[in-house]
Each structure stands twice: as C-alpha cells, then as structure tokens.
Symmetry: C2
Subunit: 379 residues, 2 copies
C-alpha cells in the first residue's frame, strides 16, 4: 500500500508539473494553441487538452476568439493566462509603513492602499496594521474573483526553509516567524487559509520585473534597491538566487571603501553607508546638497560595476525611493559605469529604472505569490 | 507525421531525463536500490528496473554484492555509479602550460600529464600541444574502458551558447572558437567524435568540488581561484551561475580600491591588481616579501567578505597557485573575514582549500564533462 501511495504521489507531482508548465509557457508566449503547447512541452495533445480544460475551469486560463482568415481557415484557439478571475495580494513591509496591492495573475494593479506603523514597537504591531490594510484591499475583490496567494516583501533576509525573517536591521527584528504570525492574524478572516509566501524586498522586486513580463533578453536580471538600505535580487533562468541562508544579494554590505564610514551593520565602508539614505538625506529628511548626492551616485556606479562583473546580468534595474532623485543621482551612476567600461574596452551594462516605480516591492510581492504557486513542485 | 515525430522526441527527452535522474540520484546517495530510486524519483519500479538494466549494460552503473543478514534476509541490490568502465578527460589550459587528467565518473584521477606552450603564439599553438598531451593520456585507457567526454577549463569567459572563448586577457585570445578548433584537431585520432565541453577555469574548479562529492551542506558552493588572474565559480542547486555572456564570477575585476593600481583589464583598483600574481610575485617570479603577501591576503579577505554577502555561499573554497603560499597568505585572509564578521555580529563564512590541489582545474574540467553529459536535456 505504501508503494502504491508513493507512486500515486509521483504521478500527482508529474501532473502538477505539466499544469504549471502550461501556465508558465503561456506567460512567456501568450496566445499559443493546444497544439503549440503540446509541441513546445513534449506532451501529447490529449494530455494538454485535458489539463487546459481543468485550468480554464479553475480560472487560470482563458480562450480568446478565433480569427477566421480566408487563407488558412479556422485557426486553433489561442490560450492566455486569465487576467480576471484569480488574483494575488502583494505586500511591501517598509520601514514604518506597509503598502498592499491587489493584482491579476498578469500583474495589473487593481487596487492599492498604504498605512503607517510604529517601528519602535515589535513585529506584532506591524502585522496588526498590515492585516487591516490587507483586508481592506481584499474587500475590493469582485464576486467572481478569488485571491489565491499572498506575497510579502520584507526589509531583510528571509530563510524560506525555516519560514523566518532572519534579520531586518532597520526595524531591529531578529529571527521573526513573520509568515506564521501573519497566518495566525488572518485566521478567521476572509483571507484565512490563503497561502502566504515571503521573501526579501529586493528579491520580490526582481521577480516583479521577470514574472510579469518574462523575456529571455533580460536573463539574468539584477534589481538593485536603494533607500534606507541597499539590496539586490538576481533572477536567473526564472529562479531567484537566495543563497544558503536567504542572504544572497545583501550587497549594501559589500565594502567599497576600506576603513570608510561606519555602517548600520557595524562594519566600515559598506555600500549602504556610502549610498543609502544616510548618505543621501540630512538629519531632518531633506535631500543632501548636489555634491553629496553626486558622490553617492559615483559610489553606486562602483557598486553596480562590481555587481556586473560578479553576476554578469543581461539587465540591471534600479528601484527604491532614491531613484526619485533622478539625474542628480543617476547621471553620476551612468558616468562611472561608462568610465569603467571604457577603461576595460567592454560594453556598459544595460541599466534602467524599475517599471513599477514606488510599487516595485508590493507588485513584486504579488509576483512572488504567483511564482511560488506555479512552481512545478510546491515546496 | 510531424506531430508524431515531435511526440516521439518528447518521449525520448523524458526517457533521457529519467536515466540522468537515476545517475544523479546515485551520485548523491550511492547504494540505493531500484525500489529506493523509484520512491525517490516518483517513477514506477518497472521503469527504474528497465533503465537501470540499460545503464548497467552501457557502463554507467554497477551492482554490488548483496549483504545477507539474519534479521531481514536478502536486501535489495544496491546500485552505484561505475568507477571503472566509462572515463572522462579533463584539461586545464593555463597561462603557458596545459594539464590533462583521465578520471573515472566518480573523480578518481587515473593518469595525468602536463606540457608547456608558447603564449606569444596564437591559440592554434596551444591546441596543438594540448592535442598531443590529450592523446598521450588517453592512451592509458584500458581495453574495457571508454572515454565518453572531454572537458576544458579555460583562463577566461566562455559563451556556451556561441561555443566561444569570449576573452582570455592573460593569453590575449579574443572571441576564439576554442571548442571547434579542438574538435577539428582531434579529427581522425582515437578521440575523434568524443563530445567536447568547455567553460571558465574557476567555473570548472567549482564543479569539481560539487560533482565529485555532492553534499547539500555545501550548496551554494563558491570557489575562488587566485593566480595570474582572480576568478570565481558559483554552483547553486547543482547548476553553474554563468551569467548573460559567460562572464559571471569575473570577480578579479571587482574594484576594491577606487583609483588604486592599474589592472591588466585597464580599470584601476581591481581585486586582481591587489591580490593576483603581480601583487604576490616579483618580476623574476620569486615570492614578494612577507608584508606584501600579508597585504594581498587582507585584500583577499575583503574580496571574500564582499562575495559572501553577494552570493551567501554555504562554503567558500580557495584554489589556484597562490594557495601554495600557505599561512603567509591565508592567515591575514582569515583575520580579515573574522574582523568583518565580528563587527557585524554574524558567523564567519566557512572557508577551505580545494580538495584537488594543483589539479583543481583539470579535475574540474573532467567534472564539467560528466555534468554536461548527465543533464536531463543535452543542450
């Protein structure tokens, strides 16, 4: 009996893998027919037809009208990921504020809301505010719609194996079981039992760029967030690089100036101390003068040059509040990258600003939920 | 007819994937039985039995004797990757010398040989010397043995999609079709038609550590080579991080000292200029004095601290000729890592020296061939 159960579970896993492969294929190439999918995935047409029927019934996929042309007659029905029925809830936990967005499976933002929380209190205070905001936003969900996943982007390293926020220095949370606490807070609400996924804020922002607009020309994609802290997320072949303990991409603590200014982490000369808010803002929160911003921009250029040689990304995306400084910050970044590239007679790395602006982390968190829900095996 | 061919190719791919999954499973957990394999891989026992028979007949796997115990009677037959019949040829292309090793599928070195080549000549001069050495070593292959793959570790970035050595600064090779040239040179020899795979030297050295001794406790594994140049290879979940153009891990060109000494690449203050041979050796090749080596060691410590936060490896492995300097170099590396870790109140990264010593690249190149041959889909 045990053997049989294990073989069944192997078959269930295979079926899940095939279902998810169909969804992922349609995200990369929307409008493929059942025959296209069968050919692309090495499955029989009858397998694809049966799975597509299930996925349409459940709300994952939708058929669009068929075009009739004189030349080739009735074309096979094109399939798309359905942007109307199944929804994702994405949440940014920032320093002193939360941001919640409701998105379609394809990344359209349908509703959004922010709230403040007191960083001098413990993690439960944040979760209480977050829960209220999430329920408010979820109430925008229509009759025929259903939220199937919740993603959370956190300002620190996340150990997925232990479902734990390892360390968030700017809010002083250590080893916090954030996911468990949030699931408990949602118990008995309309969001009770909806799967909750969490990850570092830069990681989810990187997933937002790749999941909601997959393109082989941006693989690997490196996203660098600059704000209170400095962090990076790398997506390679559709997968996040998270590292042994969920701390990969903590590039704010790469040393750029040996024996430089003291960083929040205790080390000296880290990128964060030279580029983050403390370098960009005065005590009262007003922007620093232009030379200070330009200096931070040059250090950011050095950091990006170092990350370009370490990761060899096809594309670097900048996000976070510092991007709002515009060319005062970005012009020296580009100049520095250009100087290093010219010295080495290499092409400059491709650099652009995040497509989701101030919502990069919240939308990215929704992308995380979609990403985890459509993995071939549900970890 | 087209449809049918495509479905057949899908099935062939599935079969290859299952065969390779069995081999990979037995590398991680040697001695599993057919029932163990069926359970672990979600396959039926009859599928595993049929594939195992094929793999035994072809020389990939071997059955070992069954232990009889009073308690549980005859135990299922344990299977192992066969270390005797199918062999791999691994090649290091160094600066002015080549090194060739013959290994088993499990990494035992059966034969090895080195030769010099003139770096002032073009890439063909190197390939000629390499071909002779490879054929000499291949002649050690026994009657019942067969070389099934050739791996080459090159001193520069490799673009696998274009089968091209992008740039090897220390030998001045640009855009060299190294694989094609080597395949042509081997035409008509006993190695004619054997698949040739090539990759950056630090990348193959990293694969040598993971492929020939897989362990979840060293995932991700970062290998850093220090010699003429400085490079790194990262293996995550059994896969190499190669980047958009095969240049990921070119960490010798991360800037550690803004406006520092001029590097071979044209930039200033790169790790290579502060840590590589020019920092460690005098003009005549003799070792620098102790303070110069210690200074290079401290810079290597800063580089490793930066790589630790960028990649979050479970383990950092040091390789390359500089490792032979021993504690004169390694003690300041460890001290520097310790100081940064203490400042940030974090555990130090785990650091050790490559298990294959001076053969790290050649054995790693053999590992590359084994790795590529046992991928679920042969790219």
């Amino acid at each position: 009996m045990l053997m049989q159960a294990e073989n069944h579970s192997g078959q269930a896993q295979l079926k899940r893998g095939n279902r998810m492969a169909i969804i992922r294929q349609l995200r990369v190439q929307p409008g493929q027919s059942r025959v296209d999918l069968a050919n692309a995935l090495g499955l029989t047409k009858s397998t694809v037809s049966a799975l597509a029927r299930e996925l349409i019934d459940e709300g994952w996929l939708v058929e669009r009208e068929v075009l009739i042309t004189g030349d080739i007659g009735r074309r096979p029905t094109p399939l798309f990921v359905d942007p109307t029925r199944l929804l994702l809830l994405g949440t940014q936990v920032g320093i002193g504020h939360v941001r919640v967005v409701l998105t379609s499976l394809t990344g359209e933002v349908l509703s959004a809301q922010s709230a403040a929380y007191d960083t001098s209190l413990d993690v439960e205070a944040c979760i209480q505010e977050l829960t209220h905001t999430m329920l408010d936003v979820a109430a925008e969900c229509g009759e025929a719609q259903r939220i199937i996943g919740i993603g959370v982007g956190l300002p620190g390293g996340v150990d997925q194996a232990r479902d734990q926020l390892v360390f968030a220095p700017h809010v002083h949370w250590h080893q916090a079981p954030f996911g468990t606490l949030l699931r408990e807070a949602l118990h008995g609400t309309p969001l009770s039992g909806v799967p909750v996924f969490m990850q570092n804020d830069a990681d989810v922002a990187a997933l937002g760029e790749t999941e909601f607009n997959p393109s082989p020309t941006t693989d690997p994609l490196l996203l660098v967030l600059v704000g209170e802290g400095v962090g990076a997320g790398l997506v390679v072949g559709g997968r996040l690089l998270t590292g042994a303990r969920g701390l990969a991409g903590e590039v704010g603590h790469m040393v750029l100036q040996i024996d430089g200014p003291l960083c929040s982490c205790g080390r000296r000369g880290c990128a964060e101390a030279l580029i983050g808010n403390r370098a960009l803002l005065q005590q009262d929160g007003a922007a620093q003068d232009a030379p200070a911003v330009a200096r931070a921009g040059r250090y950011l250029g050095v950091l990006l040059q170092n990350l370009a040689v370490a990761y060899d990304p096809a594309c670097i995306v900048l996000g976070g509040p510092a991007v709002a400084l515009g060319d005062a910050l970005l012009a020296p970044v580009r100049e520095t990258l250009q100087q290093y590239a010219q010295a080495a007679r290499l092409p400059e790395p491709t650099l652009r600003v995040s497509r989701f602006g101030a919502d990069a982390i919240a939308v990215g968190a929704a992308a995380l939920a979609g990403y985890r829900l459509t993995q071939p095996t549900l970890a």
